[in-house]
């Protein structure tokens, strides 16, 4: 089992931690969702939160986003304890959360609009990110005219355009088809490499988590806690075409399945 529990790669020092979650507990009425959970998210890396359904991974992500309040514990982003949503974090939603009455460019610029940036300026920024997610020509389209994959590109462009240090992605690819999803995963890898941002990525797909992550936190449910942290080492530098054939990739996928199997009904 010790194949990639990379003690060989020591965890980065505190200066390199973008988001730090300390002793978080969360209860919904009587149900304990998270208990005393602590986790660090290294700067410039993609960390996946992976676990069976109901393990509180989305709850944890929303606490980091400041959308939910924890019952106890603290979340620090860039060394500052957070008390709500902030400009240092941007969220990508599972169901895209686009405004159906607004066209693509207004949706992408919405985060900037809320910050009071002038229209011409925010549209210039939005256009740049629309181009970077490959939606040039669709600026004036409305969400209902786009496919699921294109809608999530809009959601991604919106999150990128506010230039937050931390990107929170809540199962962003689960509502798009398999082929689009693979393309997204490849794009996400180059995004992590080029953007120097910290990504926190919630998924229920083991393969997806292993494919895109620098660090995988396995959460086990009832109540949720971090059961192990896996840092793949050998295939991260390889080209996207070779990852799925890498022995370490296959081993980690098997290892995670072995530890999650008993929690799946």
């Amino acid at each position: 089992m010790a194949i990639s529990q990379t003690s060989a790669q020591p965890l980065a020092s505190t200066a390199d931690i973008a988001v730090s979650v300390r002793n978080i507990s969360k209860k919904y009425n009587q149900t304990e969702a998270l208990r005393d959970l602590s986790l660090d998210f290294p700067k410039g890396e993609l960390t996946s939160l992976l676990g069976p359904s109901g393990c509180g991974k989305t709850t944890l992500l929303k606490i980091i986003a400041g959308l939910l309040d924890a019952n106890s514990g603290t979340v620090q982003v860039g060394g500052q304890t957070i008390s709500g949503p902030g400009p240092d974090r941007a969220f990508v939603f599972q169901d895209f959360a686009l405004m159906p009455w607004a066209n693509v460019i207004r949706n992408v610029a919405f985060g900037l609009e809320l910050r009071g940036i002038a229209k011409s300026e925010r549209e210039a920024i939005a256009e740049k990110y629309i181009a970077s997610v490959g939606l040039t020509g669709f600026e004036k389209s409305f969400p209902h005219e786009l496919s699921g994959g294109m809608r999530q590109r809009v959601g991604l462009a919106r999150a990128l355009s506010v230039d937050a240090q931390v990107l929170l992605l809540d199962e962003p690819f689960s509502a798009v088809d398999e082929q689009t999803r693979r393309k997204f995963q490849e794009d996400l890898l180059s995004l992590v490499q080029n953007e120097n941002k910290t990504f926190i990525f919630v998924t229920h797909s083991i393969e997806e988590a292993v494919y895109v992550s620098d660090q995988i936190a396995i959460l086990l449910p009832r109540p949720s806690r971090v059961s192990e942290i896996i840092r793949p080492s050998s295939f991260r530098g390889k080209s996207v075409d070779n990852i799925r054939r890498d022995p370490e990739y296959l081993d980690i996928v098997d290892q995670i399945w072995a530890s999650l199997r008993s929690y799946v009904e």
């Binding site: 959308l67 959360a97 159906p100 919405f110 910050r115």
Partner: protein
């Protein structure tokens, strides 16, 4: 509809009904029904009179103030009720009582409270319109996609910004539906109010014409009112269709 390969314009069946009216009127079966052409002739005469124009402007004034007030009060109240559980629990019973209540029975009370004038009519109009506007705005807000609200919050929107940038727009199809029905009810409200107060606007004219058996005048006024109410309702459903593109895709 097509006849002999020609496409008939919308509502051309009305011509047939007008012809039937004309025939019944010409037969002089009852004084109650003058011929359609007589009614139209009276109408054209009538709309040029001072009396009519005064009645029209009084009615339009009471109607627009009443509708304006019920929109301005109804939409925010409905949105707030949809957002706040406490407010909803407190207000919903009242809204449900008033939406089904026979409001005409309240008008005499209003007359005592607010006098025999425009004020009473405005309040009657608003009372007819406001409840359905509240209920629809509330329903619109309650079906809002939660993640849209979370999205606005996560990008830094405060409660007020979220209110007019997200809640209002997300509930707009329902709100407009409520306004359309509310406006139709307001037409009833303004006329019922005027009839009961009976010294203002079209109410006074109705009273005058029917008690003097001026049936052509009576029908002419009625036609004007029907046409106005219909035109307003059509205009609002035109607005509703403009937001329909996203109503089904939220």
């Amino acid at each position: 509809m097509f006849i002999f390969g020609y496409k008939l314009p919308a509502m051309s069946s009305l011509i047939l009904w007008a012809l039937l009216w004309e025939v019944i009127g010409r037969l002089e079966l009852t004084f109650f029904m003058p011929a359609f052409s007589t009614v139209i002739a009276t109408l054209i005469e009538l709309v040029q009179t001072k009396v009519f124009q005064k009645a029209l402007s009084e009615t339009a004034y009471a109607f627009s103030v009443g509708v304006g007030a019920s929109i301005l009060i109804g939409i925010p109240t409905g949105i707030l009720m949809g957002k706040s559980r406490l407010l909803d629990e407190m207000l919903l019973p009242w809204v449900n009582i008033f939406i089904s209540a026979p409001l005409s029975a309240l008008v005499p009370v209003l007359m005592v409270l607010f006098g025999f004038g425009t004020k009473t009519i405005i309040i009657t109009t608003a009372l007819f319109a406001v409840w359905i506007i509240i209920l629809n705005a509330r329903a619109g807000v309650m079906q809002i996609n939660r993640s849209l609200v979370e999205m606005a919050r996560s990008f830094g929107a405060g409660p007020f910004t979220a209110f007019y940038k997200i809640y209002f727009w997300a509930a707009l199809p329902e709100i407009l539906g409520g306004v359309r029905i509310g406006v139709i009810r307001a037409v009833k409200g303004v006329i019922i109010g005027q009839l009961l107060v009976s010294i203002v606007g079209f109410g006074a004219l109705f009273e005058l014409y029917s008690s003097n058996f001026l049936m052509a005048h009576f029908w002419a006024i009625l036609l004007v009112l029907f046409a106005l109410a219909f035109a307003i309702a059509e205009f609002l459903s035109f607005l509703e269709r403009k937001v329909a593109f996203y109503a089904t895709k939220r």
